[in-house]
Symmetry: C2
Subunit: 538 residues, 2 copies
């Protein structure tokens, strides 16, 4: 019989919660830690499922799946858990359908866009990286331009900085995939913070070495949670227990689940996205700045599709399997199906061929309202535009709609609405009484990714141990806690306004010159056409 | 014993739900209608409470309280229910503290701002009214500029159209009070739709005849719900029953509450804000476009304060009791307390003197994090800046924080985040199977107001009767249903892009000329000062 009192109760059996529990147990094996998971499985936003494969059967990720060598937190954990990775396939030609219906292919990392669009794209990326580097990841609100950037959507920023339709559509498709929403819905300040947490924009959206889409986990990403659960002891992880109320008393916290189960703990770790936290009744209620930012932080819309094949025919045709598409609704698109934003080769570590794709943002909403059959037809039709009619001869087809997943509230991540960042900084990681906040949304390195989930879980473990068993902390741990404390103390100190800056002025100048050249060129071209008309026509 | 099967179950015992139930019962007295209310009282966002008063005791509204002759739906209902109103007091000098710490007073409806700020304010109001008149209230997304306006916050619009700090702060204070959030959080398209539903901006924010703050209800606004409940039969209104699940079957709908109560009905009316609907588990799940817009539609932050007095000393001093204040946080405000956005005379119909005020948007969040004592001190300090030290000699003091009210999720209304309107039009009033959607958020006339709640309730009653007892409908009802059907059918048809338009060009021109004059004037003034300095100084 498990005791009804625990040192720590962790709410949420995803990577973040399990990492927190694992790290507490690792440093203090005598501590009693219980993980409560609302779903019937561990893994949270990672989920690995079996599908019919060329070799008979194999497993694929229908949730988070990529890791990269740049993500030290998750990579270190994988090493510790003896979990193997393998590289994302990206050889051959990549494809795109940006700015119209024409399918183009290209090699390397430079898309097949016009020189102007490429210049535009490049300058915008440099500019965004220049801006994100100014963000204090512990306190984005401290930036002198924080209010201005928070009052803008990412789309507002692009409206001002991008000059070509193709560059704009490329960014829209990329960020739609990153956040699961449209660029006009995300606070620009939140986006800058998100990029800052990743290092730079390229790492966030590329799939080469050193980026976030560099490698996959051999047995699937859910293996991380399964392995963590087994190390904690599966008997310490209760599934199908959705927490409905948390009452903080003088000396402990009482947690009640939907099934009526009740337990008390010295400390509670909440390892779940804001939308899931909102479903719990807290006594006393959570701090108002937390309630305020949480209500402005919805989850994205995300449907992931995996299609398995006998042969990786796209590879033999010289394609990497990767494509980016503008992905407009049918009616806007001359009747051509384009539900997917991004597609990748998803061939398993065992060599079983597959493709995966994402329907994200407004596309996910619109296509979710059609029948499964219509959706599947459109997805295959879209794939066929790039890889030919062979896509229809699949072995298995699976779609996972994260808005319909119990307790997920959407996917892949929570994002901040325009104007919602003011209370975020102060509240996101603040301990409230005996409550600690984990989950990838609270991370300061790779926010929104598996690595961020690990980082947040590790931080929470130290926070909790510092209260219940400070002797169990190593010298390193103590130093980390000190650093976090220092970062917290500096929150709210706004730096002085910065000037326009030499670099920024130079960028604006180059954009101006480029735009002017385009305009002159366009006018010249137009005039030539008109003159030709005059000559040719009677 | 009540039957477990009902013709209609209404979820939500606010004005909208009770109006729906009342109108069904009125047209078809034989129908069985049950109202389920999560709270321990009817009234929803209207709540009338007793306070110590000059005469001993009296009642005040701590929720919605104003009605106006322009709001035909609520006025007609009040007449039908024999509920009396009395005018909002607005004689004498109004006060303001806009653009700095200086308190100014003025008479009539023209604030004490500089000529430039007044011109700025006037042009912005004319411009907003020009734009809102173009909105199709049944389908805001059909406007050619819908996407552009939805991708903008109201603040973005003001950044482009307002030239003076004082005009900006006046608008910010007014809209903070209307929506309970900051102007950088609301979709500009939603704001235009909201103003359109009210008729014009002046009606929305003024307190004179013909506006939304024209009159109050003698016995308090909760009387509407109490009277409706008594006409439906109080036995048909179950309090303390929070609905947790709604399952639509082939022939009926099963509703289950938190207490375990279960009932089935032929039709269900959901008369609650989106955030409350989100707490219910639906089988099958609600349509994805509804889920999409609901998650981007938080409630505002609202704390209402009522202070009662022995004498209406502000009246004897020549003040109306009304003030508007920029209401910055303490640290931004040279230490001067300014938690309130707007204050009004709240003297009861019986003549018991009182003042009321609102802490709204970010101010509500920041002040909610301080102690009740600190908050009260700051509120009184703020009142004292306008009406003198007498404000401290109050009889009773009550604050109602709508974020802490069970099942309210905030106040006064839901607003749409930037970029969230795309799915709103199609989904907001669409019947889903046997589910009908009421609540002031679904209204097309006076959305967000008590009158909107009545309009939505009346619409739902007709929708429901049309299914369960079409014979009970009058000729007028049938015509109304026809009009609604026609409005629904035209949804999604986007008009052609409009040109810039003569009127708009003229406004831009006048703004330009005004701005230029200001600039010339400022430069001249500055030069004169400099010249004076040269002359006076050695």
């Amino acid at each position: 019989m498990t005791p009804s009192f625990y040192d720590v109760i962790v709410v949420g059996g995803g990577i973040s919660g399990l990492t927190a529990a694992y790290n507490i147990k690792k440093r203090d094996p005598s501590s009693s830690v219980l993980v409560l998971e609302a779903n019937d499985r561990v893994g949270g936003r990672t989920h690995t499922v079996p599908l019919v494969a060329a070799s008979g059967s194999d497993k694929w990720d229908v949730g988070g799946q990529w890791v990269g060598s740049c993500q030290s937190h998750v990579m270190d954990l994988l090493k510790e858990l003896n979990i193997e990775t393998f590289p994302q396939y990206h050889e051959g030609k990549h494809c795109q359908r940006i700015g119209g219906n024409k399918v183009k292919s290209y090699k390397g990392s430079i898309p097949a866009l016009s020189v102007f669009a490429l210049l535009d794209l490049h300058i915008a990326m440099v500019k965004m990286d220049y801006l994100q580097k100014q963000i204090n990841i512990f306190d984005p609100w401290s930036h002198p331009k924080a209010e201005e950037w928070d009052a803008m959507s990412v789309a507002n920023h692009f409206n001002k900085t991008l000059y070509t339709k193709d560059a704009r559509e490329t960014f829209d498709a990329a960020l739609r995939t990153v956040f699961g929403c449209e660029t006009n819905q995300v606070s620009f300040l939140y986006c800058l913070m998100y990029v800052r947490a990743a290092g730079d924009l390229e790492k966030l959206i590329d799939d080469t070495e050193g980026t976030a889409q560099e490698a996959r986990i051999k047995l699937g990403a859910q293996q991380i949670s399964l392995e963590l659960s087994s190390r904690i002891g599966d008997e310490n992880v209760k599934l199908n227990e959705a927490v409905v109320s948390i009452i903080q008393g003088e000396t402990d916290v009482t947690v009640t689940t939907k099934s009526g189960w009740q337990g008390t703990a010295s400390r509670v770790v909440l390892a779940m996205p804001p939308k899931a936290i909102e479903t719990i009744e807290f006594t006393p209620s959570l701090s108002r700045d937390r309630v305020d930012f949480m209500k402005r932080m919805p989850m994205g819309n995300y449907i992931k599709v995996v299609v398995t094949y006998e042969k990786a025919f796209w590879r033999s045709d010289g394609y990497s399997g990767m494509f980016v598409s503008s992905g407009f609704p049918l009616e806007k698109n001359d009747g051509m199906a384009a539900p997917l934003s991004v597609v990748y080769d998803a061939t398993s570590a065992n060599g079983n061929p597959a493709l995966l794709g994402f329907l994200s943002g407004q596309m996910a909403t619109e296509w979710a309202m059609r029948s499964a059959k219509e959706r599947q037809d459109a997805v295959l039709e879209h794939l066929a535009q790039f890889f030919g009619r062979q896509v229809f001869s699949f072995l298995d087809y699976l779609e996972k709609d994260w808005n319909r997943e119990p307790n997920a509230h959407g996917g892949p991540v929570s994002y901040m609405s325009v104007g919602g960042m003011q209370n975020f900084t102060h509240a996101i990681r603040r301990v409230e009484g005996r409550l600690h906040f984990s989950g990838t949304e609270t991370a300061t390195v790779w926010t929104g990714y598996m690595s961020g989930a690990v980082e947040a879980g590790e931080r929470c473990a130290l926070e909790v141990l510092n209260h219940i068993k400070p002797n169990a902390l190593t010298q390193d741990d103590v130093q980390q806690l000190e650093e976090q404390k220092k970062a917290r103390q500096s929150i709210g100190v706004r730096k002085n306004k910065r000037g326009r800056g030499f670099f920024r002025t130079m960028i604006s100048l180059s954009i101006g010159v480029a735009a002017l050249s385009c305009a002159v060129y366009a006018v010249a071209y137009y005039l030539e056409l008109e003159v030709q008309k005059l000559i040719v026509l009677p």
